[in-house]
Amino acid sequence: MKQPKVHKIYNPEAECMDRETRRSLQNKRLQETVKLEYERVPLYRARMDARGVKPEDIKTVDDLYKLPFMEKTDLRDEFPFGLLAAPKRDIIRIQGSSGTTGKPIVSGYTQNDVDVWTEMVARAITAAGGGPDDIVQVCYGYGLFTGGLGAHQGADRVGAMVVPMSSGNTQRQIMMMTELGSTMLCCTPSYATYLGETVNDMGLKDKLKLKSGCFGAEPWTEEMRQKLESLLDIDACDIYGLTEIGGPGVAFECLEKHGMHVNEDHVLAEIIDPVTEKPLPYGTPGELVFTTLTKTGMPMLRYRTHDICTLTDEPCACGRTTIRMSRITGRTDDMLIIRGVNVFPSQIEACLVDLEGVAPFYMLIVDRINSTDKLEVQVEMTEEMFSDKIGEIEALRSKIADRIKSVVGISAKVQLVPPKSLPRSEGKAKRIIDNRNLH
């Protein structure tokens, strides 16, 4: 059952710190991290030298742009210990992700890093309503993947009763959930949805004591949240993180559920244009870049996530003073540049959800005609969108075009095509046909 919306804050001093005080803390921590990285990590030192940047040049957060970026490939190339800034004997934990091909990537944690990570997850669990009275069922996988252990440590830190189920075995998950009376769930949103559907099919919803959950490790949508919340009658909060930056908890939602609070005393978040690499203002979608401020095992400076989102510094009703990041709406790999504007398929998708209650299948076709880029959006007509009146179909078409114009900022030709007429590809849907021959 959902809880009353009472904002609980794990570390009010850090989370509600006034912004100026936090900024000077960040400046100090950034200087220390840059110095550490320059002294201990040959790859990064060489990169700074190549740019002619010295640690002394970085005095405040405003100097961040001077620093070179780090990439996932750096972790592969320097695998396993090349990026360590601490002696190996101080590393007490390895976490990582397998990646789909070749070498995995790993990150080394000092005791300090595990503590910071644990604190970040504790903040997330508290923000979702968790505390010593809660029974937290963790059904993320335990292992190299940071989900299981991260949630476990955080729940442990807030003093909750932790049920370390790990992933899979749905029947057993539900049995434990009902028998123990678990009040919180930590897992991926898709697995939570599956659990919810199964619980409903088994007619056991009444037996649940769940009130909320922290769901992450994969991108999800507002529609998925609505569904999940009604399936389990809970508050479903988003949590974001990545192994390279410390794991889940880097950012998390409070019960306001409108954007994830970034743990700004431990990480700096920036949004950049993925092509020009220039920083972008709050509110503009672009690539999320993180700098760690307190990690000592494997600090990261300007680490490019290739995730697309926006940041905002609008105040939040919960009282936290940290900036918030939006949901991840896409990956930079999918980005198109049309008439000089960065266009993400996810933005188009956002214009299409909610059309008569359905999210239709779509495809983007880009052409260059008379040296002008043209974007055509083909949308499959669904039963719900169809009408026997021409006027209504035309109105729907212009509604889609207007939304695209206002969200993406460019005009697109919208075509409504019959159902199932667009090509489906195996696996990751291929949504873009670029006929411009730009290479």
Partner: protein, 145 residues
Amino acid sequence: MYISQISVYLENEKGSLSRLTSLLGSHQMDILAMTIADTAAFGIARFIIREESIDPCLAILQQAGYSARKNKVTCVRVENEPGGLNRVLEILDRAGVSIEYLYSFNYTSAGNALLILRLSDREAGVAALQKAKVTVVSKEEIGAL
């Protein structure tokens, strides 16, 4: 009182209508009336079949990948003489009911034309027509054609 109509979304390309009619023909769907509306970008086929065939027909269309819908439309019998249609339009106009579109049956009934009307407010329109003694045709009567 109403009769059921099926409407289907068509791409504006050569042969799309004949593909539809041959699909319906191959399933022995007897089309009693049909009209096509089109724009530069797409078309809508609207047609009437007997009530008992409506749901099977929708299933066939969906199976074949069409966007199709069932709508309730109004059918009236109009005397085949000058002014017959005009009288119907006047009644609706006075009742404040507008016509979204209109077409007619391939069949006549006792020498009279059968018209299909999509009204802005079906119930108000039917009430006005019946009050003015215009024959509104039921789906059972269509089934007997």
